[in-house]
């Protein structure tokens, strides 16, 4: 893996631009980075499998010393990513949670399903960014069958518990439903 010393910008014409920058939470000597996308179609570059991405995230999170670092990173993800276009933040795309709200939009691109989502709470949004990184840009089959073990492994299980009622669990269910529905087509 390439070590990034400064931001780089990768252009995949015509649909998306990908920006990579060193993660502020890791020393530059470690091969860690996170990406900020400008286009919502960045997910299409997923050449890794769902499990490979999950393992990558688990590996990234293993470098955090305590919960503060972990949450700062999630908050960062939540703040930086423009996840959904405003037009989709409507009733139709809304997943109501008791605590926070989530909007989810699914597009089909060839045999890939591309998700965009958003939330009114930044921690929820940061976790959404991770879920999208894992699930978006894969086949309906792969999404429907995905076992999202990374959430447990990185210690964010509580955010996907039904009692938390932040819309995340419903969002994951909804994403899988899209997968199932498209699989059936």
């Amino acid at each position: 893996m390439q070590i990034l010393k400064k931001s780089v910008r990768l252009r995949f014409e015509p649909e998306f631009v990908l920006e990579l920058e060193p993660s502020p939470h890791h020393p530059l000597t470690t091969p860690r980075y996170h990406y900020i996308t400008i286009s919502r179609y960045h997910h299409m570059i997923n050449h890794m499998t769902i499990n490979e991405i999950q393992d990558e995230i688990i590996d990234e999170f293993s470098f955090f010393g305590d919960w503060m670092e972990k949450y700062e990173y999630i908050i960062d993800l939540g703040k930086q990513l423009p996840l959904i276009e405003e037009q989709y933040k409507d009733e139709e795309h809304l997943i109501k949670g008791c605590q926070s709200q989530v909007w989810l939009q699914a597009d089909q691109n060839g045999d890939q399903v591309v998700f965009t989502a958003d939330s009114d709470a930044v921690i929820t949004k940061g976790i959404i960014a991770l879920l999208i990184r894992v699930l978006s840009g894969h086949s309906a089959n792969a999404i429907a069958d995905a076992d999202l073990y990374f959430i447990n492994k990185i210690g964010l299980k509580e955010h996907l518990s039904p009692t938390r009622s932040n819309g995340l669990l419903s969002m994951v269910k909804q994403m899988k439903m899209y997968g199932l529905a498209l699989q059936a087509k």
Binding site: W67, M68, Y71, E72, I75, C98, Q99, S100, Q101, D120, A121, V122, I123, T124, H159, N166
Partner: protein, 411 residues
């Protein structure tokens, strides 16, 4: 009976609550969610234990000694509840599962008997869902309308509007004594007096008042007053509905079953006397007995000491929060009890609550089951810190420190 410890020093009182010794997320717990459910003193826990070890038997039916003992202990719970709220008679003290069931009982039973098409039920803008939905359900069934007393920005009822809304169409008024979201203490005596001038009965949701202040239902002249045991240091699953005998006698039973009958034939059943008419099935025997212990426990500390201590803490918390830049207090009524709701500018309550949780601080975030109230303020919810007499200044200091830290992370 378990002996209730005599305690006046609030730090000693705190030591009576074993749960407060535990940790949350690796930090000593700062419990500021008593408005959702309070912690239990050792005396209540011991009472539950003792009941199941030594007294457990069904009540009211047994000829054997054990059942009689259980019945005596159970009915002692009713006596304690009666004196706690100064009810006029034991017939007026009905055991329910909690405030929600108390309101559902009245809405359903009173509604079926007294509500007609075109009638109105008057509630307030700051009601908990449990004092909205049961009324909506019965209104829909009976073709009646739900009307709402509005509030001002501070979270106080607009009493002029109340006067206007109190027309001859209104058949019952149902308001909360203390708001679970804002902490507002409503002028329930004034509401009751005004309603009575028009012959309208009033139900008071006392869930948030009873753990914090002396309630005298006869002095208030409330027609119905209901509260939950678990918010006043008793067990979950037990609550009290006080109702004036004159109303309860006229109302049909709510649930059918054992205990509430006098004679049953397949043709006709006659109902038992009050309060049993409204207590179908085996009651929460251990809950009633331990609720009695919670009442004795509170009486030992004394309402004055409780109120004074909590008022001081609430003032302190409010002042400290106000000093943090970007904090907005939701609910600034003149008369408040034990609840401070707030928002940090640009920060979602869920995010703030999540960080506080990681710091070992238990607060509630969200709409607190008062969605219409949140809509009125145009906010998704609040962060709510709610107090009980076992809280101390150190808890508040930790909250303030936690809020500052969370704002730094999230802002």
């Amino acid at each position: 009976m378990i002996k209730v410890p005599i305690a006046v020093d609030m730090e000693k009182v705190r030591a009576d609550f074993p749960l407060l010794n535990r940790e949350m997320n690796g930090k000593p717990i700062v419990f500021l969610d008593s408005a959702a459910s309070s912690q239990k003193p050792q005396a209540v826990i011991d009472q539950l234990d003792a009941y199941y070890k030594q007294q457990n038997a069904n009540v009211h039916r047994g000829v054997y000694q054990l059942s009689q003992e259980a019945t005596t202990a159970f009915e002692k719970g009713r006596e304690l509840a009666k004196s706690f709220i100064n009810a006029g008679s034991l017939k007026e003290v009905i055991f329910v599962r909690g405030t929600t069931e108390g309101i559902n009982l009245v809405a359903s039973s009173f509604g079926r008997k007294f509500l007609q098409a075109g009638d109105e039920v008057l509630i307030s803008a700051m009601e908990h869902h449990s004092n909205i939905v049961p009324w909506q359900m019965i209104c829909e069934e009976r073709g009646a309308k739900l009307k709402v007393i509005p509030i001002n920005e501070a979270g106080e009822l607009l009493m002029d509007e109340f006067d206007q809304l109190l027309t001859e169409k209104v058949k019952i008024v149902a308001v909360t004594h203390v708001s679970n979201t804002l902490g507002t203490i409503n002028p329930v005596k004034e509401i009751i007096d005004k309603a009575h001038q028009k012959g309208v009965p009033v139900l008071i949701d006392g869930a948030q008042a009873i753990p914090h202040m002396k309630v005298d239902v006869q002095e208030l002249d409330a027609d119905f007053y209901t509260f939950s045991g678990h918010k006043m240091f008793g067990p979950t699953g037990i609550g009290v509905l006080y109702g004036k005998e004159e109303w309860l006698e006229q109302m049909p039973p709510y649930h059918g079953g054992g205990e509430m009958i006098e004679t049953v034939t397949f043709e006709k059943t006659t109902y038992n006397e009050l309060p049993h008419k409204f207590e179908a099935g085996t009651p929460d025997i251990s809950g009633v007995i331990a609720l009695g212990t919670a009442i004795q426990y509170m009486q030992t500390i004394g309402h004055e000491a409780i109120q004074e201590h909590e008022h001081e803490l609430l003032q302190y918390a409010t002042e400290q929060l106000k000093q943090i830049e970007g904090i907005r207090i939701i609910g600034t009524a003149e008369q408040k009890a034990s609840v401070v709701s707030f928002l940090a500018e640009g920060i979602h309550p869920y995010d703030l609550g999540t960080i506080l949780d990681k710091l070992g601080i238990a607060v509630r975030t969200g709409h607190h089951c008062t969605q219409p109230l949140m809509d009125w303020y145009g906010i998704p919810g609040t962060v709510r810190a709610s107090l009980a007499f076992y809280n101390n200044k150190e808890d508040i200091d930790k909250l303030i420190e936690g809020v500052k830290r969370a704002i730094k992370m999230l802002g």
